[in-house]
C-alpha cells in the first residue's frame, strides 16, 4: 500500500497518551498486536499502523479510519504488547476523539450502536435489547439485519418485550449528566 502521510503536529501523540494513559510513543513496530488481532483481515489500517500514524501526527487518517471502529476490544494486543502499551485503550481514546471532533466517519455502525445501547441504559438503568435494537435499526436503516433471528429468540424467551427497569434508573440519568459535565471540553 503506497500512501503519503504528511508529518503532522506532534501534539496528537501527547493527547492520545494523556487520554489513554499509556506510552504510545514506546511502540517500536514489532507488529505483535497486528499478528494477534482477530479483526486484522477487515481493517484498513492494522493496529501497529495506527500506533505509527499516531507517532506521525496523522490525525485525519487515524480518526477517519475504519480500524478504530472494527476493534472488538478483545484486549489481545494489550495483553501481548512487549512495551506494555494498552492498545485497546488507545482505540477507545481515538473513537472518543473522532466523535468529539465530529470527524466524517467511514463506518458509522459503531457510533450508532454505542448511542443506541447507552440511550437504553440512560432510560431504564439497564439495557432493553428489543428497544436498543429498534433504535439502532432506525439509525442505521439496516432494517432487515437479524430479523430472521427474532422469532427464535422470542420462542426461547431470549428477547424480552418489556424493559427490566432498575430501581436506580433515575440516579443513572444523573450519572450520565454528571459524566458529560466532567468531560465537557473547555
Amino acid at each position: 500500500m503506497t500512501r503519503t502521510v504528511l508529518w503532522g503536529a506532534d501534539d496528537l501523540l501527547q493527547e492520545v497518551q494523556d487520554r489513554a494513559g499509556t506510552p504510545v510513543g514506546a511502540c517500536f513496530q514489532c507488529h505483535k498486536c497486528t499478528t494477534g488481532c482477530p479483526m486484522g483481515p477487515e481493517m484498513d489500517f492494522l493496529p501497529s499502523q495506527i500506533m505509527r500514524l499516531v507517532h506521525l501526527g496523522a490525525e485525519t487518517e487515524v480518526l477517519g479510519s475504519q480500524a478504530i471502529w472494527l476493534c472488538a476490544s478483545c484486549e489481545t494486543c494489550t495483553a501481548r504488547c512487549p512495551m506494555g502499551i494498552d492498545i485497546a485503550a488507545v482505540m477507545d481514546a481515538l473513537r472518543i476523539m473522532a466523535i468529539q471532533r465530529k470527524v466524517a466517519l467511514s463506518d458509522t455502525h459503531g457510533k450508532h450502536f454505542n448511542r443506541s445501547f447507552l440511550g437504553s441504559v440512560r432510560r431504564h438503568g439497564r439495557v432493553f435489547e428489543a428497544g436498543m435494537m429498534a433504535a439502532y435499526k432506525l439509525r442505521t436503516l439496516d432494517l432487515l439485519a437479524d430479523v430472521g433471528k427474532v422469532p427464535g429468540m422470542l420462542a426461547k424467551g431470549k428477547l424480552a418485550l418489556l424493559p427490566h427497569r432498575s430501581g436506580s434508573a433515575k440516579e443513572v440519568r444523573d450519572i450520565f449528566r454528571r459524566a458529560a459535565e466532567e468531560e465537557r471540553e473547555p
Binding site: R19, G21, P38, M39, P41, E42, W69, L70, A72, S73, C74, E75, T76, T78, A79, A88, M91, D92, R95, I96, D107, H109, G110, H112, F113, N114, R115, F117, L118, V121, G125, R126, V127, E129, M133, Y136, A145, K149, G152, M153, K156, G157, K158, L159, A160, H164, S166, G167, S168, A169, E171, V172, D174, I175, F176, R178, A179, A180, E182, E183
Partner: protein
C-alpha cells in the same frame, strides 16, 4: 460462602439460561447469592468506547451498592466481570479516576469490594476437589472444547485468575465433572463480541474459525462462560456456516454442563434455551442424560 450477585443485563434476557444455571449450581453447592439491590448496567463496551468517566462511574455505582452489603461480588457475564474489575483497577491506581468517579456517583469508593467470576468462585474458592466429590452424573465420554474468550483472562493485570494465553480453570472443572476437555489452540481467541451488531459478517468468519478448530480437535460441543460468546457461537452458528460446512455444534454454558453432572434437571439449567440443541448429544451420553 456468600456473595453479592451482579447478574447484568444479558442474564435478564438473552442469557437467562446462564442466570438460571448459575443460580442452580450455586444453590446445589451451598454458595449463597444475594442480588445487589437495584443494580444498573455496567456500561459494557459502548461506555468505554464513548466516555472514560461513564465507564468507571457505572461500575462504581454497583460496587458501592455491593459494599453496603458487606460481601464480595460474584458475576457470571465475562463483560460485566471485566468492567467491574477494570473500574476497581482504575480507582485503586489512578487517584484522579477515583476522585472523578466519586464526584459523579456522589459517594466515596476506594476499590475495596472484591469482584470474582463464577468460574473463579467454583474452581478457586469452592475447589475442584470438593466439586468432584459432589458429582452424581459424570459427563462420561463428553468431548468438550473449553472456550474462555477474551475478558476472563485479559488484560492479566486486571482480571488474572488464570493464565492469559493458556487458561485451564474450565478444563479442570469439567474434567472433575467427568467430561473430556480437548486440547485446542483457540481457547482465548475473540468471537467478535458486540461487533455482531455492527459487523455480522466478521463475527460469522470468527465463529467459523472457532467452531472448525474445536471440531478438528475432536470436540462435540463447546463450553463457554460469557453471554456474548454463547450468542455468537450458538444463535449465530448459521452465520458461521455461511463460511463453510461445519456439523451442528452445541454451545453450552459451563454452569449448564456442571449442573447436569451435579444431578440437576435440564429445566433447572435452561438447556431448552439453546438454539443448536444438545438433546441428541446428551442422550448419547448415559451420564449426562438425566
Amino acid at each position: 460462602m456468600k456473595y453479592a450477585f451482579f447478574p447484568g443485563c444479558s442474564l435478564e434476557s438473552t442469557a437467562w439460561d446462564f442466570d438460571r444455571s448459575t443460580r442452580a449450581v450455586c444453590g446445589k453447592l451451598g454458595i449463597e447469592l444475594v442480588d445487589i439491590p437495584d443494580w444498573v448496567c455496567c456500561g459494557s463496551t459502548p461506555a468505554h468506547a464513548t466516555s472514560a468517566a461513564l465507564a468507571v462511574a457505572l461500575p462504581v455505582m454497583n460496587l458501592q451498592k455491593a459494599q453496603s452489603l458487606g460481601l464480595p461480588v460474584m458475576t457470571a457475564c465475562a463483560s460485566c466481570y471485566a468492567r467491574l474489575r477494570t473500574a476497581n483497577y482504575k480507582v485503586r491506581t489512578e487517584p484522579e479516576d477515583r476522585r472523578r468517579a466519586e464526584r459523579i456517583t456522589g459517594g466515596p469508593y476506594a476499590g475495596q469490594t472484591e469482584v470474582h467470576h463464577v468460574l473463579d468462585v467454583l474452581v478457586n474458592h469452592f475447589g475442584v476437589r470438593r466439586i468432584r466429590a459432589k458429582v452424581e452424573q459424570p459427563l462420561a465420554g463428553l468431548r468438550v472444547a473449553c472456550y474462555y474468550g477474551c475478558l476472563l483472562t485479559r488484560p492479566p493485570e486486571v482480571v488474572a485468575f488464570d493464565n492469559p494465553e493458556h487458561p485451564i480453570a474450565m478444563d479442570d472443572l469439567l474434567a472433575a465433572a467427568g467430561a473430556e476437555p480437548v486440547e485446542w489452540p483457540y481457547k482465548t481467541e475473540c468471537c467478535g463480541a458486540s461487533l455482531a451488531m455492527t459487523n455480522a459478517k466478521a463475527v460469522g468468519r470468527l465463529g467459523y474459525k472457532l467452531l472448525t478448530m474445536a471440531r478438528q480437535a475432536g470436540a462435540e460441543c463447546l463450553a463457554v462462560a460469557c453471554p456474548l460468546c454463547q450468542m455468537n457461537l450458538d444463535l449465530r452458528q448459521a452465520d458461521a456456516k455461511a463460511n463453510g460446512d461445519i456439523p451442528q455444534t452445541p454451545v453450552l454454558y459451563v454452569t449448564q454442563l456442571l449442573g447436569l453432572a451435579l444431578g440437576l434437571g435440564r429445566d433447572e439449567l435452561g438447556i431448552e434455551a439453546l438454539t443448536v440443541s444438545a438433546d441428541s448429544l446428551l442422550a448419547a451420553k448415559p451420564g449426562a442424560s438425566s
